[in-house]
Amino acid sequence: MATVPSPDATPSQAAPARALSAGVYDDAIVKLFFTATVTWALVGMLLGVFIALELAWWPANAGIAQLTFGRLRPLHTNAVIFAFCGNICFTGIYYSMQRLLKTRMWNDTLSRLHFWGWQLIIVSAALTLPFGLTQSHEYAELIWPIDWAITIVWVIFAINFFGTIAVRKVDHLYVAIWFYMSFVITIAVLHIVNNLQIPATLTRSYPVFGGLTDALVQWWYGHNAVAFFLTTPFLGLMYYFLPRAVEKPVYSYRLSIIHFWSLVFLYIWAGPHHLLYSAVPEWAQTLGMVFSIMLIAPSWGGMINGLLTLRGAWDRVRTDPILKFMVVAVSFYGMATFEGPLLSIRAVNALGHYTNWIIGHVHSGALGWNGMLSFAILYWLYPRLFGRPLAKPEWVTTHFWIATTGIVLYTVSMWAGGLTEGLFWRAIDATTGQLRYPVWAYVVEKLAPFYWMRLAGGTLFFGGVVLMALNFIISARAARATTPATGDVLPARA
């Protein structure tokens, strides 16, 4: 069986893995990352709800500097991307890697340094960004001492990651591992290059690149933070957890090879589509646009491979809420990776850039793809990891519908709001040749209903996460009340 590149998806394969897990695998570290994921999901999304309120109702910051939109928006994005999404990636990687490579993580101390270092970085983000300590580069706002900490923690993670690969007990590297690997390598490169800064004081620094060079480097980073933090590790998670949940092997090995290499090669070129119509050299803008359009192929390759893994199991989507989450996640991945290339076309970008449409686009990716896949993984892992059933299994379905309704409200309001803005801004009076809506705030006022609708959608999505966290807490209490915790023994499969 060693040459079959598939996760231990069938019950007969899963059984020995289960027996191994008690002693061989380090599941304590997975539990730590699991708990951190749920905690930061609550924090990051609550921040999102709050800043959404600030746009609908400006006095929400109560006159407090630390709570203004300009200071909290980066905290929201950092908390969701690096705290919530980062921790679910680490949860899934530490769980699946040990099982795919049939070995414990190479070094337990490095695992713990990685965990506590990463959480410390998140806490320091929360203690700096609201106080206006920022580098201003999007998704790279954290000040230079924290950047150094990230570098150190990432190197620790990388050593442990490649160390585990080196001591693996199986010959093959399953496709999920390739995607994890591209995550480890590329984030290191992006982070270091985009944070080349000269410190001015302990909390302030200035980038060595200036002007449009700085802009191009930043969007090379920014777009590929999306690619290699929110896409490739999550595809790796999909390649492990989707076949496990469906109990069927991945549809096509050959498709996974082709789409992996084309995805990692093409993605890195797409950055300049964030700078269309700027004074960045036109050839760079065109490259960004063309490679973005080409990205549809490998992105959809991944989506198709995920969805076709469900062949013969579609009936279970009706009854299994975990599969519901996964199907919606992969579908949103497909939609977001169609919308992205669409927005990269100059003529479309001319309308969509600077508007709420972009906010809707990133949230169809972040809520739909990253969020829904994360929830599926958390629910799937919970009984297997903690050795106790969910106290309220019916709440999982409730969470699914609340979250899905929330995403729909969010994306629809932002699409409509974005198109409204874009069209109002560019409207020219045919008779006078002047702007039809020259007063900026007139358009701002038109957006209020969309902001309230977005707030409702975001609140629903956040409410789903609260329900999930409560479910985990109640399950832990129920288990403690009946039997003392026995560790890593799994219950019978539901």
Binding site: P5, S182, F265, I268
Partner: protein
Amino acid sequence: MAEAQKDSWHRRVIEAKGGTMAIFTAIAISVGGLVEITPMFSAKLGPEHLAGVTPLTPLEAAGRDIYIREGCFTCHSQMIRPTRAEMLRYGEWTRAGEYEYDHPFLLGSRRIGPDLQRVGGKYPDAWHYQHMKDPRSTSPGSVMPTYPWLYTAKVDPLEVAATVRTLRKVGVPYDDQTIADIPQQIQAEGTAIVASLKTGGFTAAPDDEIVALIAYLQRLGKDGTAAIKAGATKAPAP
């Protein structure tokens, strides 16, 4: 799965080898960045210099630091696109050389408020003073928060000196005299703005943060607009 069970050559040579996978991945992810970014450092292919664009004064640089601290760029862009509607609303589209001394760049990615690339000189100092205190008094319907703390906090000349010195290290051409005279320059420039605010009926001190922010905002786009008017420009990208 049948295709995978055959022990194919690429599986043996690439996908089963951790080191090879890592090296190939590193190569695959490097090409795009190298092709797109390295030409930016070439005088011929990179952003064009615009004659007449000079570095910010120390007070303006202090204002820029406040602009960054408050996250103004999360809602305001500094990049006018070469479209008819944008040029009617904001003025000339932004040239590459206008950003030459911007460390970091502040193009922004979202316009909750309007673009600020050419806001310099568009309104009197008093308008900005009033706007940051109560945005709805100058722009009814605005969703911008109020910034009362800018009216009590002071600009620290030592912090400004650290900024200017570091900017010089990354290539902004500040001379020794500018760096030596930072406190005096802040005082002199700030006093001029305070005087103009007084005519609008407001009192402020030259080292108030709001004064530094006004100095920065009033400078935005001025060099570029003058250079473009003087003819130092090319046709817009199609």
